[in-house]
């Protein structure tokens, strides 16, 4: 994240600004285990039926599950549907 990242983080905390905007971090919303919504992603790294890896500013987001499908994909957001079992960040 570097030094400027640290300053930004502190600033965001002091001013109570949303961190996803100030720090350019992904915003992830899950609906049960049916759907996951990732805003502010940096591209797809791997895509198979049971594993999807998405590049983000805070590392690689790895989603494991069954019958995963990219419902929607544009530059800003991804919507993944299917049976999601695991979500995690890998450095």
């Amino acid at each position: 994240m570097g030094e400027s990242g640290g300053i930004k983080k502190g600033l965001a905390e002091i001013l109570e600004l949303p961190k996803d905007i100030v720090l350019d971090l992904p915003k992830i919303i899950m609906i049960g285990n049916l759907q996951i919504y990732i805003e502010n992603h940096k591209g797809i790294l791997e895509y198979t039926n049971d594993r999807i890896r998405v590049n983000t500013k805070s590392g690689i987001l790895c989603i494991m599950g069954k019958n995963l499908m990219l419902k929607n994909i544009v530059t800003e957001e991804i919507i993944i549907v299917g049976e999601i079992n695991q979500v995690g960040f890998i450095d």
């Binding site: 591209g43 797809i44 790294l45 791997e46 895509y47 198979t48 039926n49 995963l68 499908m69 990219l70 419902k71 929607n72 994909i73 544009v74 530059t75």
Partner: protein, 398 residues
Amino acid sequence: MLVLKLWNYIRGYVIIRVEGLTLEKFINMCTVRNIYLWDVKRIGNTTLEAKLGVRGFKDLRKIVKKLGCKVSIYQKHGCPFWVHRLKKRKMLLTGAFFCFLLLIFASTFIFSIEVTGNEDVKKAEIVAKLNALGLKPGTNRYFVNLRKLENQLLLDINRLAWVGIELKGVKAKIEVVEKMIPPDTINKNTPCNIVAKKSGVIEKIIARNGDAVVEKGDIVKKGDILISGIVQLEPTEENILVHSHGEVYAKTYYEATKNRDLTEIKKKKTGQKVIKRILNLGNIELSFNKSEIPYEFYIIEKRSKKPLQWRKIGLPVEFITEEYYEAKKIRVTISEADAKNYVHKEALNDILEEIPFEAEILNTQVDFVVKDGVLYGKVIIEVLEDIVEQRILQIGED
């Protein structure tokens, strides 16, 4: 999302299959170049299925060249493809067009005739006349002159006062109003008698023409001659016939008897109730509850709701809520005053309908008798009214 799907359908989209080794890169390139992909599915190790707009598909070429993957169209969906397919089948289009034209043409013919408002004149008579005049099932609506037809129908059927013909779709609606035929009036030159319309006691007699036969105080029955049209001239003792007229006022009596039980069985709610909900769909009635009501006696309160109504147009849906209140029978005694009041009112209502508007009420008499728990009331009203009725003198009657 339905709107989005519909929009995509209108614009047209294709389902593509991409074969290659770097499919993730393919997706990323698409997003970078603003090609909108949706419903991306992985089919095999090297294949991917995705939906894509028609315009996006054209932009895909550059990516395909760069990545060296194979793209094939699996399915085509949406309006543009339909249009394209229809362009090839021109005869189908012309057929549909002519079918539509034929439908419009067929709807310009009159299919049925409906007559409303007739009471004495038979529907068959009106329809037969209309058929003869050129309005029958099978006539084209643009070949009949409705105004002319209305006038002709009025002339042909004497008993009609007004005719309105309206074409509603394929139906001809004929509305008629019949003439009210006035009672026969006797010509002023025709000799006639004046007879009593009702029985009564003569109070006043004014003979404007003709000979008064009765005097004040006489009791006359219905049909008795009051003023005779046969006048005897004094000097010659010769009879001449005149058109007699005049006014004869007589006291007439109207009576009515009514009765009412002094005890009454009333239903009283006990507080228990069962609610039954019914849904009416057109003519179909759907009940949501058990149909049996567990009470011996009950009072029903019904409420209905019709959703989505606008003026008279609306869905033929009606929600009915019926509330069944359990009831007990209770014997209630009514005070005599109340019963008398009720009986009096009922009797009066009956009588007042019979009394003519011009009559003058002189006297009312009310008698009550209680017998076996039942109140009998008798109301007599004495009325002063004109009882004149003209009747033609039959020649050779005298």
